[in-house]
Amino acid sequence: MSIVTHRRSMRTGAGAPVAGSRLLVDEIGKSFLGPDGGTIAAIGNVSLDVAPGEFLAIVGPSGCGKSTLLQVIAGLMLPSSGKVRLGEHDVTGEPAHMVYLFQQYSKSLLPWMTVANNVMFAFSHRLKLSSNAAAARCRDYLAMVGLADFAQHYPWQLSGGMQQRVAIARALAAEPQVLLMDEPFSSVDALTRLDLHALILDLWTEKRFTAVLVTHDVDEAIFLADRVAVLTQRPAMLSEVIETKLPRPRHAIETRESRAFLALRHRLLKYLLARNQDGAHG
């Protein structure tokens, strides 16, 4: 399925891009109560400054607390120290302008609702739209991900890649300023993943939301992001932030074969592998 064809089917004006606010992660720390009563530090001290409309990727070894950091940013979890700010506002609960895209689409899509009702679940309670307007908005977003014909299906009737498309359509139907993505491409097959990369870049270009992607896939991080933040082993600390400076639009094959891409990949992998070995030996 080509991205280009379903981009054409998209109606313009289905929700104008929102003027974004700066996302500030200010010295966030998070620890949990351990089983022995002690505290386990998941996040040491992380600060990030994400410009409106920027695409930031966060990579780190598995189990380093990436998802925890993203959940704190989303307001789904309170930090132990520090704070998150979106524009002028401190994030203390789920903010109206941020949406979290989960890795496990099968657990995040509600199986008792049709695809259309899943998408409407994102906005119908906030916007008092007529049922026609709500259905139109739902159709627009499903068309953007190429699933206009599947509105009346149930999620479990679709393939994994299609389900994650529904989850993406639902997330964007809330028209967030910030889209937080927690390894959303890691539970689909390799080709579907490339397809979803292109889709998310297209949608990001169109809607200009701020994107924060947590992933353990270095290629994915470089390919999608403006900047890649690298986290250390648990407790997570920011070790460095690399600007990719790769030209846009990016191409599934050419971009990945470019010198600049390979150089970035070399640098990040070397760094992460060295880190992993430190961890293994230490």
């Binding site: 959940q71 789904l76 989960f102 657990k107 995040s108 509600l110 008792w112």
Partner: protein
Amino acid sequence: MASFRRHVIAVVLGIAVPLAGLIALEIASRSGWVNPTFLPPPSTILATFWGIIASGSFIAPLGQTLLLLFTGYGIGCAAAIALGVLMGSSRPVFNLFEPLTELLRPLPKPALLPALILFLGLGARMEITIVALGCFFPVLINTIQGVRAVEPTMINTARTFGHGPMAIWRRILLPASAPYILAGMRISLGLGLILVVTAEMIAGSGGLGDSILSAQRTFLVKESYAWLVVLALLGLLLTWLFTWVERRLAFWNAPQVQ
């Protein structure tokens, strides 16, 4: 076609055993191996059963039993779901009620009948109460388990879109735990039928339980068995009905069926 034949064979086999049993009883009764006063030949019971059906005299007792059963069942299930959702989603509420429910749950519910008769008399109120009490616990236990088994990701999904606690209850916790709740309600329906018949036998104020016992007491043995057949068919019908409702309400729980 092969699947149709297999289906026919399954039905024939399924009917064969009860039919053989009936023929054996018929022979036993007619030959005098079993005292025909205690067990009349099934063919004569069946004739009496047809009489009850044809005359419409089954309608009043059946209607009364169903009314009591569904009133008690409805009250018991509704209360259990409400408390179960609370106990499943809140640790303090769970700690508050868990010892009490664990004490009352294993108690055989007919043992409560004497006390209930003292307080509520021998009428519909007592019968409805015992059914509600019996139906309450299986649904409560399953609702607690169902609510606890809800994927945290589903709740977080609702939160990220700004749904409040009430919406999360109604739109996530209830539907997500519906398969568990329905499984509990299936158990409760069987229990409810047992309890309503038991209570009717003791109360002696109408219903299928009363019909079975009164017929036996007045030496109308054939009638007593015929009412038993009515009761058996009612149980079968309720099971079918429930399976149908369950498939419609928790259709998404068995996607492979689709």
